[in-house]
């Protein structure tokens, strides 16, 4: 539970900084020089990564013991890891905000083992080591739990994903002086996390929640899970190639990257089919309706954001013009929200009421409020994505497509597309409103009862 609570606090922080960034896009000197854009962006993206990791950890501590039908190997270790991670994370963010980045690098002895200053991997080396310790301690605890109990497919897939996450994190420590090599292996962390092992984690959490909420036979769910993660890895591993188009690697990646990223929407499409199929075949109507809404929502939004918006610009001839434009930002926002934010909110929506002694879910009022939060945040994110896409298309048209000499400069282009940035900022404010409503739903008392289950037996499976 502390993992989920802390994750949501960081989520709120992330959105505040998102709004600051959105405003800086149009009012360039907002908060300058106190919080320059690079600092706010670092806080925004690092908070996202850390709170999602907290979410994954909370999810694992919740579902692995239950799947294994045993107790967590060491609750004490889990608590210690929580505090190490929370303190390290908080100190890092405060360091970003209150110490000049170059000074922070000196203070943390970046010279000895330089790993800082790369996108998403801005953390000081010692913090990276701390994250490694937390991940290893966490996985040890989870594995010992999984091994002593029932070995379900969900647990196996989840643990495989977590081990992959830890192994790939090691590439964060590799920073050669050759930029082209640096970038190549940087993608081993970034791409193979979000388009590889994280999909395993997402698939496992989704499968778990669907078993619980729809009551569909485990055998059926596990079969789907295997097919989905098979598609994810088959398309996603070589799909890394779509990042190798323009950073130095040879031309065969143009073909490999294009073909395999064309397959990358498939696992997400399968997830949509999976969720909607399981709901149609459900054996029970769990009174926690909002958790089901999140579960279905995450598959649809992940398919749109990661699948459709990814495919829009992952073919090499298209990417040649869109690479590093606002199109990338559009895709990034919806993909992260749809796939990973929403899957964590799904498991929170399911597990939190149970941990608070409400086995059938929150009261109807709280659920309705949470649904308002769901729709406001989700629709706002759709608009954020659409406006950024509009900005990106115009940017490509003005800045990328014309020949040198005719093309507009970067900054002149930014002035031309400012209207889209204003619209994005307004959508961001609606997202914030949705988040406030969502968080507010946690403070409403009361719970659903077995009688709220419309049809079928209300099994006492909590």
């Amino acid at each position: 539970m502390p993992y989920f609570v802390f994750a949501l606090i960081l989520f709120a922080g992330q959105i505040v900084f998102g709004l600051i960034l959105g405003l800086q896009y149009v009012v360039g000197d907002f908060l300058f020089p106190e919080i320059p854009f690079n600092v706010a962006r670092m806080v925004h993206t690092n908070l996202l990564i850390v709170w999602l990791l907290f979410g994954f950890m909370g999810a694992s501590y919740y579902l692995v013991p239950e799947e294994a039908q045993t107790e967590l190997y060491s609750p004490l270790l889990a608590r210690i890891m929580f505090w190490i991670f929370a303190v390290t994370g908080t100190l890092t963010i405060l360091g970003y905000l209150f110490v000049d980045y170059a000074t922070l690098a000196d203070l943390t002895l970046n010279k000895l083992w330089p790993t800082m200053g790369r996108e998403f991997l801005e953390q000081p080396t010692v913090v990276k080591l701390g994250i490694l310790v937390v991940i290893v301690g966490f996985i040890f605890n989870i594995m010992m739990t999984a091994l002593k109990g029932r070995k379900t497919v969900i647990n196996i897939v989840l643990v495989t994903g977590l081990i992959g996450l830890a192994l790939l994190w090691l590439f964060a420590f590799y920073n050669p002086g050759n930029l082209a090599t640096d970038k190549y292996f940087w993608w081993f962390v970034v791409h193979l996390w979000v388009e590889g092992v994280w999909e395993l984690i997402m698939g496992a959490i989704l499968a778990y929640v669907l078993i619980k909420i729809t009551g569909v036979d485990r055998e059926v769910i596990e079969k789907w899970l295997y097919v989905i993660i098979a598609m994810a890895l088959i398309s996603g591993i070589i799909g890394t190639g779509h990042h190798f188009f323009w950073i130095g690697p040879p031309e065969y990646w143009l073909w490999l990257g294009s073909v395999f990223s064309a397959l990358e929407p498939l696992p997400f499409f399968m997830m949509v089919l999976f969720a909607f199929n399981m709901v149609n075949r459900r054996r029970r109507n769990h009174p926690n309706k909002v958790a089901l809404l999140w579960a279905m929502g995450t598959t649809v939004m992940a398919f749109l954001g990661a699948g459709v918006w990814g495919f829009l610009h992952s073919l090499a001839p298209v990417n040649y013009f869109t690479h590093g434009s606002q199109i990338t930002a559009a895709h990034g926002h919806m993909a992260f929200y749809g796939a990973y934010v929403m899957i964590v909110l799904t498991i929170i929506s399911y597990a939190m009421p149970i941990m608070r002694g409400r086995p059938y879910g929150n009261s109807n009022t709280a659920q309705i409020l949470e649904m308002w939060g769901f729709w406001l945040m989700t629709i706002s994110m759709v608009f954020i994505t659409l406006f950024l896409t509009g900005a990106g298309i115009l940017q490509v048209w003005l800045q990328r497509i014309p020949e040198s000499g005719d093309a507009l400069s970067y900054m002149a282009t930014q002035d031309q597309i400012a209207i889209f940035y204003w619209a994005r900022l307004v959508s961001g404010c609606f997202f914030m409103a949705g988040l406030v409503i969502y968080l507010g739903s946690f403070f409403i008392k009361g719970q659903a009862t077995a009688a709220d289950e419309v049809r079928g037996p209300a099994t006492l499976d909590s």
């Binding site: 690098a105 996108e119 295997y226 000499g405």
Partner: protein, 149 residues
């Protein structure tokens, strides 16, 4: 899904498919790194000064606003080809440009995006310029499409 399609078949596709593609990825990585990249990333010109420049680039979190080879933030101009855009392909012109630019920041024009003053020494600015010049010579399959980046 048809009933003939069993769970163990699904598992085999997962295990077999991912193993195959992980191995293929490793082979391709080996080929890219050992055979192709040395000819494409002009590593013979990677001097100590260039490495020092990369370090300064990282130490000041330049990627937090700029993009480099299209990766990074999208708040400020692409810099992998700034050597061509602002230095017109000449090292001395570019170094002079960089020195003037870095020392003129921030502009403090109201409402405009601001670049912080990083207080770099002349020697550090030269190293940064050398790094960006080296970067502009990586074979990127002709990206970006034009000089504006």
């Amino acid at each position: 899904m048809a009933e003939r399609f069993t769970k163990s078949m699904a598992r085999n596709i997962y295990v077999g498919g991912s193993t195959f593609f992980i191995l293929l990825f490793l082979v391709l990585t080996f080929d890219t790194q050992s055979r192709a990249m040395p000819e494409r990333d002009n590593r013979d010109q990677l001097t100590e000064q260039v490495e020092h420049g990369k370090h300064i680039w990282e130490q000041n979190n330049c990627i937090g606003c700029h993009s480099l080879l299209g990766e990074g933030a999208y708040f400020a101009p692409e810099l992998a080809n700034v050597f061509l855009r602002r230095g017109v392909g000449d090292s001395d012109v570019f170094k002079a440009y960089m020195n003037a630019w870095m020392n003129a920041m921030p502009t403090n024009v109201p409402g405009r995006r601001q670049m912080p003053q990083f207080n770099l020494t002349d020697e550090e600015i030269d190293a940064l310029a050398a790094f960006l010049e080296w970067t502009s010579k990586i074979n990127t399959n002709n990206w970006p499409p034009n000089v504006e980046g």
